[in-house]
């Protein structure tokens, strides 16, 4: 029983991280219908930025966070303006290939700037550890949980009370109507990329603070897609619930089935099995809108 609970709790940790990445993905998708494959690479850049500002620059945490967010904002604006805007109205494949190309360029930049090395900055971020009975709750899960909650709360406020937030929601609803009332769609797209980039970078800093920054951070992005699909591509709440579900399922399945399989590594492919099953049986996910175009 303890083994099972420990797996569930570790899964929760993993799931929160997935959810955090999935949120950024969902925001871009909702506003501009772009599937951002590079979301995981924002996390990667975030992890390394955290190290840069905390270790060589020696900034305090709040200043490092601000600096990283500033970089993220610039990055989001540049990406939107230079890469995505020329592709407005292009077919899905062109847009997806663009974000894939973006992900390799970001990966290349990370390699160039930080040498693809493992950079640890443990102890510089506040760590919280809890123990309930015999189960230890890892710091990663608590931080992931707190940050996800804060991010979602802030985003909810943004979407409800600010002008740009309203514009973003309206754009997600109907682009033509929005343009006819004089809202600039490009501003909305830029805002969505900035938010996604900031969310990704914050996630990266926290992950880096817990487990160190290395190139594997980007791979989490691929798994976040399973979360997004399970939760429904246009539901922020769905992304969080699905993140937790998938993280737990993945850990429990791997914990019990890996010893039975010769090659192991089930946790690595489990999200992809979920992905295929969801796509075949429920393409709009758990909480997504069902108006996905059926063939």
């Amino acid at each position: 029983m303890t083994f099972f609970l420990q797996l569930v709790v570790t899964g929760l940790a993993q799931g929160m991280v997935y959810a955090l990445i999935a949120i950024g993905f969902v925001i871009i998708l909702k506003c501009s219908e772009v599937f951002n494959i590079a979301q995981g690479h924002f996390v990667l850049i975030g992890g390394y930025l955290g190290w840069t500002f905390l270790v060589p620059f020696g900034l305090p945490i709040w200043a490092a966070l601000m600096a990283a967010i500033a970089v993220a904002i610039v990055m989001g604006l540049l990406i939107e303006r230079l890469m995505l805007r020329p592709l407005i109205g292009q077919p899905v494949l062109a847009v997806v290939m663009m974000t894939i190309a973006l992900s390799t360029v970001l990966g290349g930049l990370a390699t160039l700037l930080w040498g693809a090395e493992y950079k640890a900055y443990h102890g510089l971020l506040p760590t919280i550890t809890m123990k309930v009975g015999e189960i230890s709750i890892p710091s990663e899960s608590l931080i992931g949980l707190i940050v996800s909650v804060i991010c979602v709360a802030l985003l909810m406020l943004l979407f409800r009370y600010t002008k740009i937030g309203l514009a973003m929601r309206a754009t997600a609803e109907d682009l033509q109507v929005v343009q006819s009332v004089g809202i600039k769609a490009t501003t909305v797209y830029a805002a969505s990329w900035v938010i996604a980039s900031v969310v990704g970078v914050i996630g990266g800093i926290l992950l880096g603070g817990v487990s160190g920054a290395n190139m594997d951070l980007a791979l989490i992005g691929l798994k976040a897609f399973a979360v997004v699909l399970l939760g429904g591509v246009n539901s922020i709440g769905g992304a969080i619930v699905a993140g937790i579900i998938l993280g737990m399922l993945e850990n429990v399945a791997a914990g019990y089935l890996d010893p039975l399989l010769p090659g192991g590594g089930l946790a690595q492919v489990f999200p992809f099995f979920v992905m295929i099953i969801v796509l075949v049986f429920r393409p709009h996910g758990l909480f997504g809108l069902a108006h996905i175009e059926r063939v």
């Binding site: 190309a101 992900s103 063939v295």
Partner: protein, 351 residues
């Protein structure tokens, strides 16, 4: 596409011919002679490059039919190559089958895997299909690792030298000829498949699936056909690759290869046989350039510059093509050809 000044079609056979003039026949014949004469004057290193290019061309023709013509985007092509490669490697290494029998079986296995993972395409499209094919790539590689007893898992599998009719294909030159024969066959079949009933159905599905279905094109049947055909090409390419290296390992079929195959298609121009070849040649040449420039950069700037150069240059070239030349090199080639065809006039009356 107009005709060269002074060329006329007088009967149906001429209209249907791929090569419509003696001049074109001559060009193609000269090209083929050049291709097969290459080993006479090229070094082993150049032959290696050309052989890997050839294998990629075979694979890309399949992806072109699936993605370029039928519009079913697949980022799992390298996974399907792995199915073909491993099947033929296992048949040769464990069961002692001859190469000529193992290769079609590998192709068939890849085709069946394609059918299986093509099933979601009946319900979903666009991004969702991309995700399903990415999942296919990772699941295939994972299954190969799991079947350690027959595939060798992560250790890989040694493959015996391919033998055809008593000739041992051990030298680079021999294998180059074999690959080039497959390249020519694949190009001819790919070019003709899209002119058949099925090919026209693929194009109809790509352009507007709803309209295609209303006109009586069975989406169910033709989408699966596209997956099957596309993955058969992948299987042949995978099998050729494994027998070339004489070793099958999962590192030969990485996820990023699937991405670059799509990239090659974009750079070359989708939905055109020539475009597929252009794309492979362009990106493989870029690869070679990176291999040459990498160490120089590494010495001049920083040791990690070589690794990042490959990533950044590949990403940038796709970005540049997507923004400035979304129809690929093939489109540019057509413009150049039209210019010379119409010379000395600057443009023709278009429909």
């Amino acid at each position: 596409m107009g005709l060269r000044t002074g060329t006329f079609h007088e009967n149906y056979a001429q209209e249907m011919a791929i090569l419509s003039s003696r001049r074109q026949w001559g060009t193609v014949a000269a090209l083929l002679v050049f291709l097969f004469a290459c080993p006479l004057f090229l070094s082993d290193r150049m032959l290696t490059i050309l052989t890997t290019m050839g294998i990629a061309v075979v694979s890309i023709h399949g992806l072109n039919i699936l993605t370029g013509y039928c519009g079913q985007i697949s980022i799992g092509h390298s996974g399907f190559m792995a199915v073909g490669g491993y099947t033929s490697a296992i048949l040769c290494a464990k069961l002692g089958w001859p190469f000529w029998a193992a290769l079609p079986c590998g192709a068939l296995a890849a085709g069946i895997a394609g059918l299986l993972f093509g099933l979601p395409s009946l319900k979903i499209k666009g991004f969702y299909l991309i995700m399903a094919t990415i999942a296919a790539q990772f699941i295939i590689i994972w299954i190969i690792i799991q079947l350690r007893s027959i595939t060798g898992g992560t250790d890989g599998l040694l493959v015996p030298k391919p033998v055809i009719g008593g000739i041992v294909l051990s030298s680079k030159t021999n294998y180059y000829y074999l690959v080039m024969i497959f390249v020519v066959l694949a190009t001819i079949t790919a070019h003709n498949i899209v002119r058949t009933r099925a090919g026209r159905a693929f194009i109809a599905i790509r352009d507007n699936d709803l309209a295609a279905e209303v006109m009586g094109v069975s989406l169910w049947s033709y989408k699966l056909q596209a997956f099957f055909i596309g993955c058969i090409y992948a299987g042949v390419a995978g099998s050729l690759l494994v027998h070339y290296v004489r070793f099958a390992s999962i590192e030969q079929f990485p996820f990023m290869d699937s991405v670059w195959y799509l990239g090659m298609l974009i750079v070359g121009g989708m939905g055109s046989t020539a475009g597929a070849i252009f794309g492979v040649v362009a990106l493989k040449l870029l690869d070679e350039l990176v291999t040459v420039a990498g160490p120089i950069l590494a010495a001049a700037v920083a040791p990690q510059a070589a690794a990042s150069l490959a990533l950044i240059s590949h990403g940038m070239i796709i970005i540049i093509f997507l923004i400035f030349e979304p129809r690929g090199l093939h489109h540019r080639w057509e413009i150049i050809k039209t210019y010379f065809r119409l010379w000395p006039f600057s443009h023709q009356e278009t429909e």
